[in-house]
């Protein structure tokens, strides 16, 4: 480890010089300060989002169930036309078997406001019952614009807040780095494809989470817990991050003079926020339980489709669904998730630090992605977010994760007819990552010449190259060839296997990384970060 560290430092040193020499390429973009840089990159990111939204969405023109687009539109219809208490209840006006609302109340409120917007311009698009499968030019456009505006109003400011805090406190970083980092955060191809292609509102809950993270980095814990509670009330999937938030805040409180006071303050903030958001459903236990049961659809089984997590991958050998009942599977998956979260939580309770917190987010979200109940392909967005926040420190792993994250969603995006944006955004990401004189595109000779031939390194490079190549070929095979009739999902299964292998490796690596922070946390880290 120590040797590696040394090597890395040497690397950095040489890099600093290399960058200063070639600083000119991006000097014009960054010299006006972070605000102007952010403005420029965010306008470009918006343009890309609008361009992606020209493409089809999930379930376009495919009755009777359509897809996520219809689900979101249907929620607007429901929330707009029915009283609050009926939103989550089966009734004559609300058929829960047709895209019933299964996200927490903040999503419902958001649907209500977006519904108002749609009704103002196109009343037919949200009228009760008659609007099912409504897909006119104007209707589609308005729906797309609701996602765009949510992105602009929530995700972008949150990223700005984060970039501002991160680059003013954590590092005396170079301006080029900052611009590169903002580009990586705003042009995350997976997020753009799912929100603006497939059609969802992940930008809202992820944006709230980023804002909460930024608040933690700037020592505003109450604000952070409030924001994270909002994120949780928008999408229950935000719970993937909960262990990290919990352990980091607990660890910090424990180090104060009066730990109980700190914990109580945070607890009250969380409870208060929950109360406000869930207010309409708090009058009776029935209503509350009704909503909660909608949020946890255990009857859908431990996994769906071909998601690259542990349960789905191992089901090639062990038929979980046949061996265990749903109830025992719930218990097993919960135990597995908690066990995988535990190391990173313990680390944060022992030595809470900003950097450790970001790693903790990554580790806990990976634990959930790999081991929890009912995971979607899209859930890879959750581990990807902290990975992109850490992109400056974990450059190559970040690229690696983005590549396989995208790859794991490839079958889904193919179903949505988003192949062209998939490749275009993939290419755009790689180009930005390797921007001239930015960080990915560092000239090779900037590295110190390692005269010693390292067998392990070359083996690793070979393996990585081999898997990269095979996944590239798989893309083409998936698009051009039909699987054998006996195994209609052969290609999906192979993609899943490769991605699971990579994700598991990655999760292991980041866990080790987080624990290695502990070794020298007391000296320089404290000085630097807290």
């Amino acid at each position: 480890m120590g040797k590696k560290k040394e090597k890395k430092e040497l690397n950095e040193k040489v890099d600093v010089e290399a960058v200063e020499i070639e600083d000119d390429t991006w000097w014009w973009l960054t010299h006006k300060g972070i605000g102007a840089t952010f403005l420029c990159i965010s306008v470009f990111a918006l343009l890309v989002r609008v361009a992606v939204s020209l493409h089809p969405y999930s379930g376009a023109g495919s009755p009777p169930k359509f897809g996520d687009y219809e689900a979101q539109r249907h929620w607007m219809e429901i929330t707009l036309n029915l009283p609050v208490l009926e939103w989550y209840r089966n009734s004559t006006g609300n058929d829960l078997s047709y895209w019933g609302l299964d996200y927490p109340p903040l999503t419902a409120y958001q649907s209500y406001f977006h519904g108002l917007f749609l009704r103002f311009f196109d009343p037919d698009s949200v009228s009760l019952f008659t609007s099912r499968g409504y897909e006119t030019y104007v209707g589609k456009l308005l729906m797309r614009w609701t996602v765009l505006s949510s992105d602009t109003l929530i995700f972008f400011p949150a990223i700005f807040y984060f970039a501002f805090v991160y680059h003013s406190s954590c590092h005396s970083s170079r301006k080029n780095d900052c611009a590169w980092h903002i580009a990586m955060l705003l042009l995350n191809p997976c997020l753009i494809l799912i929100d603006h292609g497939h059609f969802q509102y992940n930008c809202i809950s992820l944006g709230l989470t980023v804002a909460a993270i930024a608040a933690i980095l700037s020592q505003r814990e109450l604000l952070a817990s409030c924001l994270f509670t909002l994120a949780l009330s928008h999408k229950q999937m935000s719970v993937y991050y909960a262990p990290a938030f919990f352990s980091h805040l607990l660890g910090k409180c424990l180090r104060r003079k009066n730990p109980i006071h700190g914990v109580a303050k945070l607890g009250l903030t969380v409870l208060g926020t929950f109360t406000v958001v869930w207010w309409p459903y708090l009058h009776s236990t029935d209503a509350l339980l009704g909503v909660l049961s909608r949020l946890a659809p255990f009857e859908r089984g431990i996994y769906e489709d071909y998601v690259a997590n542990f349960w789905c991958t191992s089901s090639v050998i062990i038929k979980w669904k046949r061996l265990f009942s749903v109830h025992s599977l719930k218990f097993i998956s919960l135990t597995a998730t908690v066990l995988t979260c535990l190391p990173s939580m313990v680390q944060q309770v022992m030595a809470p630090s900003s950097r450790g917190f970001l790693y903790g987010l990554l580790n806990s979200s990976f634990a959930f992605y790999l081991f929890s109940f009912q995971v979607h392909e899209k859930s890879i967005l959750l581990p990807l977010l902290p990975a992109s926040l850490l992109a400056l420190e974990e450059r190559r792993p970040f690229k690696w994760l983005m590549f396989y994250g995208l790859f794991s969603m490839f079958p889904l995006l193919c179903r949505d007819k988003l192949v062209l944006p998939y490749f275009a955004l993939h290419a755009l990401f790689m180009l930005l990552y390797h921007a001239p004189c930015g960080h990915g595109g560092r000239p090779r000779n900037a590295r110190p010449n390692n005269t010693k031939f390292d067998y392990f390194d070359s083996f690793k490079t070979f393996m990585n190259g081999f898997i990269y190549l095979s996944s590239f070929i798989l893309h083409i095979v998936y698009l051009t060839m039909h699987p054998p009739e006996k195994f209609p999902y052969l290609f999906e299964a192979i993609i899943m296997l490769i991605c699971f292998y990579q994700f598991a490796l990655f999760a292991f690596y980041t866990n080790v990384k987080q624990w290695s922070l502990l070794e020298h946390s007391t000296t320089e880290e404290e000085k630097k970060l807290i």
């Binding site: 000119d24 390429t25 420029c40 180009l431």
Partner: protein, 523 residues
């Protein structure tokens, strides 16, 4: 080292643009898409002698022969992709994904020629200047709007023009002239700059003593004649030459296009309206012409109530008159470094005073001017205004709601990039010791920043006139998009468009005067 690392960087800029253009494939395209698809079918299925005689579709071939050959070349690949694209009869209005993808990607790939032109122009420029030029041309929002949304091949054609300019700037006049002749055989609208080329080449290339001059003149003449012979010879052989010219120069089109290009004639029309309004008030009987400009396309009858009718020859004389200062300069002092300005100026004159000008023609001078935009602070200020105005004047091309955010964001991004780029270039350039060795620069950057108030003063700012003009642009847009439909409903649907052309015409007129002044004042 710089020149060796410049190619990958330029390719990087281009590749970023390609990604965005690929994403824009499903966006709106105009009837020009069907025009070009039909030309593919036409050149693929008919023999050369029938290219200009065919009447299967109203979109008859009206570009010069080289462009037809270009379409013929593309049709070979189109045939492999999907034979129906190039089917003369079954392919009419064919809009399958295969056709859209093929044609869109052909535009994206043909932009490589523009890229080569830019590469040749900037290969000897210093890093900062080069990067800015790339941003201005390779990421030009106007080109994206016209070529990749509206659908045309301007990038490819401008590539020839830029290549020609790059050769002229290097002093390789013969090659420059040859490339320009080729360009004319691709699209004859570029001929506006031909007189400037003629004067410049005659003086700079041929004016070297009697014998040598004469031999050079004959070489140049032979090259140009050879190009034209290669283009038109086959049609002459088939006896089709008259038909070719009939198609290329359709008479009976009006002074202005349906949507007025923001040029001089806008003022003329407005003046006519104002006169007729006041004369009627004072009791004169004025015949309001049936074919009014607000109604759309104009036929043969005079559209003016009071002012004299304008004929194509009048516009020609006006263009030549406007060009005359440039002729004099090019004759008295032919300098390679001024060539780009002169050519851009010629296209500006053609745009302002020409007959039946399309708004898209503003590309012909905005793109070449990008080369000189980074030369001085004055240039940068002028280009900043011109580029925004000309891009904004293209907005009515994309009138559907779906593309609205795209065009706005494109213009916004372009303005921000220009503002950032120019202000860096010219704050730093005026600070002392900018050309210090690279290593010191990192350490010095802070001190330059802190000591820059003096430099800021001379830095990139647009005065209050410019600012209020740009603000007015915003108001015009808000009026046209939101207030007009809200307040007046469907009444006077032409007013927003008229406002845009009139308002942008001021900007283009300003640019013309500015260029004219520059040309006259430089020695």
């Amino acid at each position: 080292m710089e020149s060796s690392s410049s190619t990958p960087q330029l390719l990087w800029f281009f590749a970023i643009a390609v990604c965005v253009k690929l994403l824009l494939i499903p966006a709106y395209h105009s009837t020009d898409f069907e025009v070009h698809r039909h030309w593919l079918a036409l050149t693929h299925s008919l023999p050369l002698s029938n290219w200009y005689a065919d009447e299967t579709s109203p979109w008859t071939l009206d570009y010069p022969p080289f462009f037809a050959c270009f379409e013929r070349f593309l049709s070979i690949f189109a045939h492999y992709i999907d034979p129906q694209i190039v089917d003369l009869h079954n392919g009419l209005n064919y809009r399958a994904n295969s056709a859209i993808y093929f044609l869109r990607i052909s535009v994206i790939l043909s932009d490589l020629w523009l890229l080569y032109g830019v590469y040749r122009l900037t290969k000897n420029a210093d890093v900062k200047r080069r990067n800015l030029i790339w941003v201005l041309i390779v990421w030009s929002p106007a080109l994206v709007m016209v070529d990749h949304l509206h659908f045309q091949y301007n990038g490819f054609l401008l590539g020839w023009l830029l290549l020609s300019i790059s050769f002229l700037q290097e002093g390789k006049d013969l090659m420059g002239g040859f490339l320009f002749a080729v360009l004319l055989c691709f699209k004859h609208l570029f001929a506006v700059a031909a007189p400037v080329y003629f004067v410049y080449l005659l003086r700079h290339y041929c004016w070297e003593g009697l014998f040598r001059g004469f031999s050079r003149l004959s070489v140049l003449g032979a090259v140009v004649v050879a190009v034209f012979a290669a283009a038109y010879g086959p049609f002459l052989y088939h006896g089709q030459i008259q038909q070719v010219f009939n198609r290329m120069f359709p008479f009976g089109r009006g002074l202005c296009h349906a949507y007025w290009a923001p040029n001089f004639w806008v003022f003329y029309i407005i003046l006519d309206k104002v006169f007729s309004f006041f004369l009627k008030k004072f009791g004169f009987s004025i015949q309001i012409p049936a074919a009014s400009f607000t109604g759309g396309l104009v036929g043969d009858s005079s559209p003016f109530a009071v002012l004299p009718k304008i004929s194509p020859s009048t516009t020609l004389i006006m263009v030549l008159l406007a060009l005359s200062p440039c002729f004099i300069k090019a004759w008295t002092n032919p300098q390679p470094r001024m060539v780009a300005r002169w050519i851009a100026y010629a296209y500006t004159c053609g745009f302002l005073f020409g007959w039946h000008v399309h708004e898209k023609a503003s590309l012909h001078f905005v793109i070449p001017l990008a080369i000189v935009a980074v030369q001085s602070l004055e240039d940068a200020k002028h280009y900043f205004m011109l580029s925004i105005v000309s891009c904004y004047s293209l907005f009515p091309l994309l009138y559907e709601a779906q593309e609205y955010p795209i065009k706005v964001l494109l213009l916004l991004l372009h303005s921000i990039l220009m503002w950032l780029g120019f202000s860096t270039k010219f704050t730093r350039a005026s600070a002392p010791n900018t050309m210090v060795t690279a290593k010191k620069k990192g350490a010095q950057s802070k001190s330059i920043e802190s000591s820059s108030p003096a430099a800021e003063k001379g830095g990139f700012t647009i005065g209050w006139v410019g600012k209020s003009y740009l603000l007015g642009l915003l108001l015009v847009e808000i009026w046209g998009q939101f207030l007009h439909p809200y307040l007046l409903g469907d009444k006077f649907p032409f007013v927003p468009l008229m406002l845009i052309s009139t308002y942008c015409a001021f900007g283009i007129m300003y640019s013309w005067i500015w260029q004219l002044r520059w040309i006259i004042s430089t020695t």
